[in-house]
């Protein structure tokens, strides 16, 4: 190990929590298992492994370890999480109970369809509901996440042109404001990306779009409202232009929380879109998944849907319910995962739509948009708004202060405040920061999405924190540069992580020094929004470190 690691254990603060391996004692186990009730067979000695380096801990060790770890997370259940493009709305507890019903949780996916009609009926209904919300002709629930839904959509567009004997259509147009998944998906499908710029209003530049249109265009991917949070005012003209040159229109459904009951992508002319059930329909983000990304299509792409999908295989009668089955669409692009989709997420989304109904979903969108515009209106005048108009469910402002006071001489600290500093300082006020440095076309972007489940009081508290930070930016730049000060760990060294690449603590691979210090008492991150934060004692602060090269935040 390098010298730097030695300093970690010599004089550095102790770890927040030991690794589960460090809690191990030889011979201890948390598993309470039966002895075999059948005669024991002879094990094939020559095929067996010698050792298995898993932890040796008791059940209570496990419970306490993971409970302590949980306290070092921030979560929606603890507070406001205005992470733009991620739709961090409340995850109803009912949904968790429903997905865990034994009649759902203990059904094997390969059972005969006659034995899982309840699960298939639920999926069939959800397919219909998602078609109704989008104004599309059909839905496949297969994609495991939004990125996989996108991939399915682009593969379908590709397959459609190939089936039409039009293999020269190999270009997908993507606006420069797009999520990074859009170009990445296009490349994965073997197609080329052409980027079109946005104009000063945040809309796609129509003239530039017309310039690139032609007979190589397979289609265009666009997010509605776009990633700047505004409805494209030229949406109909864009769709007309792409259809006019023989391409298909893909809608990235990441922002459907601004669309439900407001406009249906199918009515607008889109040919294909994906949903993110973990955004719009409240299925939990789970610390990074599982997601669920159903894909919806118009008539043209119905035969190409990924499968299997759920169909009615026998209509039934007055006495007999319909019989559901799993079928593969005629020209399907194929399977995207084993089995049929992230079923547990589908149950949660079903419960969410069932409890809301059509009117309730429209309420959801209206209040998501109300909250976003309210915060936008209150921050306007303090934080620059590159797009100054009514927004959808999110908006982008710029977190940049003191650029003109930038220190020119060596030895003087810069007073310049960046979006990252504001994001980190928000943590000290008890909030999760907004998405920062995305969309890429706005310098110092802070993308703020409150969602409809936050009250006026939550929105106000967040606004007050943002205004207080703007004030601090002018008065005490160091405070922001050193933030966060109240989180379990301070700013982390991302460069070191990538350079040294310690990815596991398996004893015979990484020679990680043992940790002999028990967990320390660090306050959990559940700090309520503090009205009056103490001014930190500057002398106790370490020298400012080089800022990590933090990338933009994508959606998931």
């Amino acid at each position: 190990m390098t010298d730097e690691t030695t300093t970690t254990t010599n004089g550095a603060p102790p770890p927040l929590e030991p690794l589960i391996y460090d809690l191990s004692s030889p011979g201890r186990t948390g598993a309470i298992l039966p002895d075999p009730d059948v005669p024991e067979a002879t094990l094939p000695d020559s095929l067996l492994r010698d050792r298995l380096d898993l932890p040796e801990v008791s059940e209570i060790d496990v419970v306490r370890h993971f409970l302590r770890l949980s306290r070092f997370n921030y979560s929606i259940d603890q507070g406001f999480y205005p992470l733009g493009s991620c739709t961090m709305k409340y995850n109803p507890k009912l949904n968790e109970d429903m997905a865990r019903l034994p009649g759902f949780a203990q059904v094997h996916p390969l059972q005969d369809p006659s034995t899982n009609q309840g699960a298939l009926a639920l999926m069939h209904e959800l397919q219909n509901w998602l078609a109704a919300i989008s104004g599309m002709a059909g839905v496949s629930l297969q994609p495991a996440a939004g990125a996989q839904g996108e991939f399915a959509g682009i593969l379908m567009i590709r397959a459609y042109h190939l089936a039409n004997g039009d293999p020269g259509r190999n270009v997908i147009i993507v606006p420069d404001s797009a999520h990074g998944t859009n170009p990445a998906t296009t490349a994965m499908a073997g197609l080329k990306v052409v980027e079109v710029p946005s104009d000063a209003n945040g809309d796609v530049d129509l003239d530039k779009l017309r310039e690139v249109c032609g007979d190589t265009i397979a289609g265009m991917m666009i997010t509605v409202p776009n990633t700047l949070g505004v409805f494209e005012r030229n949406i109909e003209a864009i769709i007309e232009t792409i259809h006019g040159c023989g391409g298909l229109m893909y809608m990235d459904g990441a922002n459907m929380n601004a669309m439900m009951g407001i406009a249906r992508p199918g009515d607008l002319g889109f040919d294909v879109m994906h949903y993110n059930l973990h955004k719009t329909f409240s299925t939990p983000h789970g610390g990074g998944g599982p997601g669920s990304g159903p894909v919806a299509v118009g008539e043209k792409l119905l035969p190409f849907l990924p499968g299997p999908v759920v169909s009615v295989v026998d209509e039934g009668s007055e006495d007999e319910p319909p019989l559901y089955g799993l079928t593969m669409p005629e020209k399907s692009i194929g399977r995207l995962k084993a089995f049929y989709g992230n079923f547990g997420m589908l149950v949660r989304a079903f419960a969410y739509i069932a409890i809301h109904g059509a009117a309730g979903l429209k309420d959801v969108t209206q209040h998501a948009v109300l909250n976003a515009n309210y915060i936008r209106a209150r921050l306007k005048g303090t934080y620059p708004m590159p797009i100054d108009r009514i927004c959808g469910h999110e908006f982008v402002c710029q977190g940049h202060f003191g650029a003109d006071e930038k220190a020119g001489e060596s030895g003087t600290e810069s007073h310049e405040i960046h979006a990252l500093d504001i994001a980190k300082r928000l943590m000290d006020y008890g909030f999760h920061p907004p998405t920062n440095y995305f969309p890429l076309i706005v310098p110092e972007a802070l993308l703020i999405e409150p969602t409809e489940t936050e009250s006026k009081e939550s929105c106000d508290a967040f606004v007050e924190a943002m205004l207080a930070i703007a004030k601090e930016a002018g008065e005490n730049a160091d405070l922001l540069h050193n933030a966060p000060l109240t989180t379990p760990v301070g700013r982390v060294d991302e460069v070191r992580a990538a350079k040294q690449l310690v990815l596991c603590c398996k004893p015979d691979i990484a020679d990680v020094p043992s940790v002999d210090v028990p967990s320390v008492d660090v306050p959990p991150v559940v700090e309520p929004p503090a009205a009056d934060l103490p001014t930190p004692d500057d002398s106790s602060l370490p020298a400012k470190q080089a800022e990590p090269d933090e990338g933009p935040e994508p959606k998931s």
């Binding site: 603060p13 770890p15 589960i20 391996y21 948390g30 009730d37 059948v38 095929l47 492994r49 932890p55 040796e56 419970v63 770890l69 070092f72 979560s75 929606i76 603890q78 961090m88 009649g103 759902f104 949780a105 059904v107 996916p109 390969l110 059972q111 899982n116 309840g118 996440a145 397959a159 990074g180 998944t181 990445a184 998906t185 499908a189 073997g190 505004v230 109909e236 406009a263 009515d267 789970g286 610390g287 998944g289 692009i333 194929g334 399977r335 995962k337 084993a338 409890i355 059509a358 979903l361 309420d363 909250n371 009514i390 009250s455 989180t487 760990v489 301070g490 982390v492 040294q500 990815l503």
Partner: protein, 454 residues
């Protein structure tokens, strides 16, 4: 209004600050003729009504808690200690986002780091990522790694026909737009046959361990042959089997993928599951998906962070290895808790229970007239039985008269395997259940109405 907290007074005050008169006015930018469509959904329901409706749908399914189940083929009814679900239900874990802000995510980050460590220990590999969607997409991503590794200079992927058919289908779906070619899995190719297919265009050779038929193939010499041809070896593995059998690392694998569902994740009609992915140091910078690494914070305190981020789609965009953003974070946490509580001895014991019970079942069934078990190779928890009649017919009898969910009908994917049933036996199957299965099969011609349920 469901989960929306706004009062009339709130709405009024907020609209005033915005400077509009109504909620509807917020949507003026939407084309008027398409604005505010009727959605054609049912009326909203109360919480109790939704619970009743979903309870009814759930109860109409035949589920493993009321029936003996001998169905596997990629999803397994293993025991899940209660502690797993209790940890998963901590709102701090399941209502958190992807840990992009390490200062607010050390819980998730350390748990993923521990998960990666345990997957390395289990597979005998040097590095593991934070997971893919499922075992099938992990295999598809392994093909992508091979493609990136050889920069398009090698385009052939040799697939063993005894890799899960759905995994092979998904790998093909993923690569329909790429230049990768899949060969080897159309017939009955054995391991030596696959070795014969190696050439200078081969990027990756994929085998399953145990294979889809539950058997442990003779893999000695395979890795050497693959490496001599300049290609990479990928093994699709059952994580429970690795509680007992030699690691893919010892057998020379370059990439190890598999389905983590057996590690504490319920059957849940096929998802969400957990695709694990492990490899060695030379390939780690080419793999897709999230990876957590150890570092320090500005005070020198140990901290964890997502690392090797520049591989990912939000930074690399069209040059990214994959478009993946989500992993199966919560499912990786489930596996992490499961492996912690099982530990060194528990996982071994689960694997041994599977082994002993599967062998007992095979012995009982092999004695029956008209049934024969394939014992040509060592097997773990699944085995193939050749039956005297179509599997679908036998399964109907097992379910209708004996309360047993029977095995997987291999003829669905392998046309020359008519009347062959793949049976899975885990630690959850009691001797009673196994004896009842054998009795039921022995009486398949004269079903009597035996109402068995546990």
């Amino acid at each position: 209004m469901t989960y929306i907290p706004h009062t009339d007074a709130d709405r009024e005050a907020m609209l005033k600050v915005i400077g509009v008169d109504s909620l509807a006015e917020l949507f003026d930018a939407v084309p008027a003729e398409h604005r505010f469509p009727a959605l054609g959904l049912p009326e909203g329901m109360s919480e109790m009504e939704v619970a009743w409706e979903l309870g009814g749908l759930a109860n109409s399914n035949v589920a493993a808690h009321h029936f003996a189940i001998f169905l596997g083929a990629g999803a397994y009814n293993h025991f899940i200690p209660s502690v797993v679900n209790h940890v998963l239900l901590r709102g701090e874990f399941y209502t958190a986002y992807t840990p992009y802000q390490p200062e607010l995510s050390q819980g998730t980050l350390q748990a993923i780091y521990e998960y990666q460590s345990m997957m390395c220990a289990l597979t005998g590999m040097e590095a593991a990522n934070a997971s893919h969607y499922d075992g099938a997409t992990s295999l598809a991503e392994a093909v992508t790694v091979a493609r990136v590794h050889y920069r398009g200079k090698r385009t052939k992927v040799i697939l063993s026909p005894s890799v899960n058919p759905e995994y092979r289908a998904v790998a093909r779906t993923y690569h329909q737009g790429s230049d990768m070619k899949f060969v080897g899995d159309k017939g009955n190719a054995t391991i030596p046959d696959l070795i014969d297919m190696l050439d200078e265009d081969t990027a990756l050779l994929v085998v399953s361990y145990p294979n889809f038929f539950g058997q442990i193939d003779e893999l000695g010499g395979l890795a050497q042959a693959v490496h001599e041809a300049g290609a990479l070896l990928c093994m699709v593995v059952d994580p429970i089997a690795l509680g007992l059998f030699k690691t893919p690392g010892e057998l020379g694998a370059d990439i190890v993928v598999g389905e983590g569902q057996p590690l504490g994740i319920p059957l849940s009609f096929g998802g969400p599951y957990l695709g694990f992915f492990a490899t060695n140091q030379t390939l780690v910078r080419k793999i897709a998906g999230r990876i957590v690494g150890e570092t320090i914070d500005k005070n020198g305190r140990r901290a964890f962070v997502m690392t090797l981020r520049p591989r990912e789609q939000d930074i690399r965009r069209e040059k990214a290895t994959s478009n993946i953003c989500t992993n199966q974070g919560l499912m990786a946490l489930a596996a992490c808790v499961y492996m912690s509580v099982m530990g060194k001895t528990g996982l071994r014991k689960v694997a041994e229970l599977c082994y002993h019970k599967a062998h007992y079942a095979a012995e009982q069934i092999n004695k029956l007239d008209g049934f024969s078990v394939d014992t040509s190779k060592p097997f773990f928890k699944e085995f193939v039985v050749t039956c005297p009649k179509p599997v679908a017919e036998l399964n109907d009898v097992l379910l209708d008269h004996w309360g047993i969910i029977g095995g997987y009908d291999l003829s669905q994917h392998y046309p020359d395997r008519a009347n062959q049933m793949l049976l899975a036996v885990t630690e959850m199957n009691t001797k009673d259940e196994i004896d009842t299965l054998a009795e039921a099969l022995s009486q398949h011609d004269t079903p009597h109405h035996h109402d068995h349920a546990h």
